[in-house]
């Protein structure tokens, strides 16, 4: 196994203040199960799971409470035992509403329900002897989705169509988002689990070469991974990436590690023979296969200058933000902004009553002095956004087109290629809402395409 330096730097990118020192040296702490959990049916990308419990039901830890609802979907399990208080639509961090199971974990176990045996939720598997299908089934029934942030169903990703061969399995340990240190702590503390996960995924993907991508500002993580992977066989390399946001973006990481370029959407990494998985996902797969432990909790970094004691917390899915903050000693100063995720791509939320999901990598509480205000000042054409855009777009043009409500012009400027990394808005001296404009254009275009499809389908049905 070798450690090499990335030879390929993508164009663009920015250098935000990383602020990782706040939580980087805090070992992962386990959060005791809070009294109430709000478990969302939409913790992943794709169709929300279908809730199969109702108010009043008693559920056991690990019990399936939401069924997979489609090909791109993931099932949801109860992250603790308790009584279902209610099933209701609640706001998620991204602003959409989804069914939430409100679980009272302090409720007393009914007399007629015997306590489950102490064994694992699922039967442990020996990954060396298990078939590929068994392993895929396990990943699916453990409810694993990408833990880097997007939450793509892992079982789908690890099961590429037969025509497409996976040549590289890239393990994403870049964690380029400011403040977040969850992946970093997992790499430090759970390196052997990650290695096991990598070996399982390698088997499932038919033995691709493995590239472990870590940014150069995490030397301890590089060392830990080097140690864990020291005696691994096969083509495995640790690629040290330059510190540059958005190094964790799938497309850019593929370019930085193996110099392959993923074509425009709808092309996927597998079209260039690559599969990218987050380090946390690898550890979750190891737990699911070897220990029979489904994905019921994850590490979340709670940080920001308004938190008393920033921490990395292993918390059950559905833990309310308020409980996380309480576990960190509460607020140091009143926060002006609360962000689910990192400062570059995270979501601002209006309440701490939202529950964590499988993709909640961070919860940031920022004081007034760390928060800036967007404006509606005109673009001065300075070109900083062009230079910052890692997708080589012209964000100034897109933002001006959206201002003029000319979505067609934004589409012609390739707005659909935008990965919403925020590099354009980050450097804009006029504080324009460039990234939000891109989102607005993308949503309009998607809505239009969906409407056209529905129209075409209706016309076909008529015939």
């Amino acid at each position: 196994m070798k450690v090499i330096k990335s030879q390929f730097e993508f164009k663009g990118g920015v250098h935000p203040d990383y602020n990782k020192e706040l939580a980087r040296d805090q070992a992962i702490e386990n959060l005791p199960v809070p009294e109430e959990l709000a478990i969302s049916m939409s913790q992943h990308l794709g169709a929300p799971a279908k809730c199969i419990v109702k108010a009043g039901d008693w559920v056991e830890r690990g019990q399936v409470i939401g069924e997979k609802a489609g090909f791109i979907s993931v099932l949801v399990r109860a992250s603790a035992s308790g009584r279902v208080k209610a099933v209701e639509k609640r706001l998620g961090p991204a602003g959409g509403k989804a069914d939430c199971v409100i679980l009272d974990t302090a409720a007393e176990r009914p007399a007629d329900v015997p306590a489950p045996s102490a064994g694992p939720v699922l039967a442990p598997l020996d990954w060396r002897t298990a078939s590929k299908e068994d392993l895929l089934k396990r990943v699916e029934e453990a409810g694993i989705c990408g833990m880097g942030g997007a939450g793509f169903p892992t079982a789908v990703k690890l099961n590429p169509p037969p025509a497409k061969r996976c040549e590289y399995l890239i393990l994403n340990g870049a964690e380029c988002e400011p403040y977040l240190t969850a992946d970093y702590r997992v790499m430090l503390e759970r390196a052997p689990r990650i290695r096991l996960g990598v070996e399982i995924m390698r088997k499932m993907l038919g033995g691709p070469a493995v590239r472990i991508a870590i940014e150069a500002n995490k030397p301890e993580a590089i060392l830990a991974m080097e140690k864990a992977f020291a005696d691994i066989e096969g083509n495995v390399q640790i690629v040290v990436l330059p510190v540059l946001y958005p190094q964790g973006s799938e497309k850019h990481q593929i370019y930085a590690t193996v110099k392959r370029i993923v074509p425009e959407p709808p092309a996927l990494p597998i079209d260039v023979g690559c599969v990218v998985e987050n380090v946390g996902t690898a550890a979750a797969i190891a737990d699911a296969v070897e220990l029979g432990e489904p994905l019921l909790s994850r590490v979340t970094t709670v940080s920001g200058d308004a938190v008393a004691n920033p921490k990395n917390i292993q918390a059950p899915s559905g833990t309310k933000y308020a409980d996380l903050v309480k576990f960190c000693g509460g607020e140091k100063v009143p926060p002006a902004k609360v962000i689910s995720g990192g400062t570059m791509m995270g979501f601002a939320v209006s309440t701490l009553e939202i529950g964590t999901t499988k993709t909640t990598s961070g919860l940031l509480l920022l004081s007034r002095k760390k928060v800036f205000q967007y404006s509606s000042h005109p673009c001065i054409n300075c070109g900083r956004c062009l230079r910052a855009c890692p997708m080589n777009l012209n964000p100034a043009l897109i933002s001006k087109a959206v201002d003029a409500n000319d979505i067609k012009a934004a589409e012609d400027a390739h707005v659909m290629d935008c990965i919403e990394c925020g590099a354009c808005s980050f450097g804009c001296p006029a504080y324009r809402t460039i990234t939000q404009s891109c989102r607005r254009a993308k949503n309009s275009i998607r809505a239009r395409i969906a409407a056209e499809k529905a129209k075409a389908a209706a016309a076909q049905a008529k015939q």
């Binding site: 706001l91 961090p93 991204a94 602003g95 959409g96 509403k97 979501f347 601002a348 939320v349 209006s350 309440t351 205000q373 967007y374 509606s376 959206v402 409500n405 809402t433 939000q436 404009s437 989102r439 607005r440 949503n443």
Partner: protein, 269 residues
């Protein structure tokens, strides 16, 4: 001098000849009724009929592929005029106008955040679900006002308001509203429920001072369930516009104060 005059005259003659030839050999024959129908339509080009502008609708009408009466802006008079031109029956139409089913002004409905971004309801709604405590209510960032072809919608006290006299019922605002709280209602209906929140009373009360709690008093005061003036979705009363209530008394008796008699404003145009 003479040269200049003859050059100009020559150019004029040649150009006239070319134009005359173009008119004779390149002209496109089209059904004269298309022009007549287009003239009969209101010319707002609002697209409410589902065709690209009035001309597009006129072509479809003449071709017989569109029903007469799809033009909400022109209403009955327009449909009759078209029927006369085309010699077909006019479908009965009634003027419909947009109604914003929310009365949670800034002084009545709470806000749960300070929104900082593009002034558009759809983007605001996708930012933490919007800054209004009631997730069903009008955000007041004017997406509807921006698409209205007649300038009939304006934002007042954080709430969209429709000018009934200007509204042509094209339905563009209905389609663009992220909260789906604009409805096309018969212009003749006068009593409306201005709320879109189907949650239970206490939940509504937590976020808005004028939200419907589903107490059914409006139903009781208008003759009971049998009278059929109201339907209920969850804990939200809805006016049955097939059979709208007429007695203005029930408005005053609504304990939630979410009902109104003709809430459209008139901008004084």
């Amino acid at each position: 001098m003479m040269i200049a005059i003859s050059v100009i005259a020559g150019i004029g003659l040649v150009a006239a000849a070319v134009l005359a030839a173009a008119d004779r050999y390149l002209s496109v024959k089209e059904d004269p009724r298309i022009g007549m129908v287009t003239a009969a339509l209101p010319g707002a080009n609002c697209g409410g009929c589902g065709f690209p502008g009035c001309d597009g609708y006129a072509r479809a009408l003449v071709a017989g592929t569109a029903p007469n009466g799809a033009c909400a802006a022109g209403g009955e008079a327009c449909a009759k005029a078209i029927a006369k031109i085309l010699g077909v029956e006019a479908a009965a139409t009634e003027k419909r106008v947009a109604l914003v089913k929310c009365c949670g002004t800034r002084s009545e409905a709470i806000r749960v955040g300070d929104y900082n971004g593009i002034c558009d309801c759809n983007v605001a709604a996708s930012t933490a679900g919007g800054d209004k405590g009631c997730t069903y209510g009008c955000l007041g960032y004017g997406a509807c006002a921006n698409v209205c072809p007649k300038g009939a919608i304006s934002i007042r006290d954080g709430l969209a308001k429709v000018d009934k006299r200007l509204c042509i019922g094209c339905g563009k605002c209905v389609a663009v509203c992220p909260k789906k709280l604009i409805e096309l209602v018969p212009a003749s209906a006068t009593i409306h429920v201005l709320c879109n929140n189907p949650d239970k009373g206490p939940a509504v009360r937590k976020v808005c001072g004028v939200g419907c709690m589903g107490c059914h008093l409006c139903e009781k005061n208008s003759g009971g369930k049998e009278a059929g003036h109201f339907t209920f979705q969850g804990f939200l009363a809805k006016v049955n516009y097939e059979n709208p209530p007429v007695d203005g008394q029930i408005v005053a008796k609504c304990p939630a104060k979410c009902m109104a008699e003709d809430p459209h404003f008139e901008s004084g145009h």
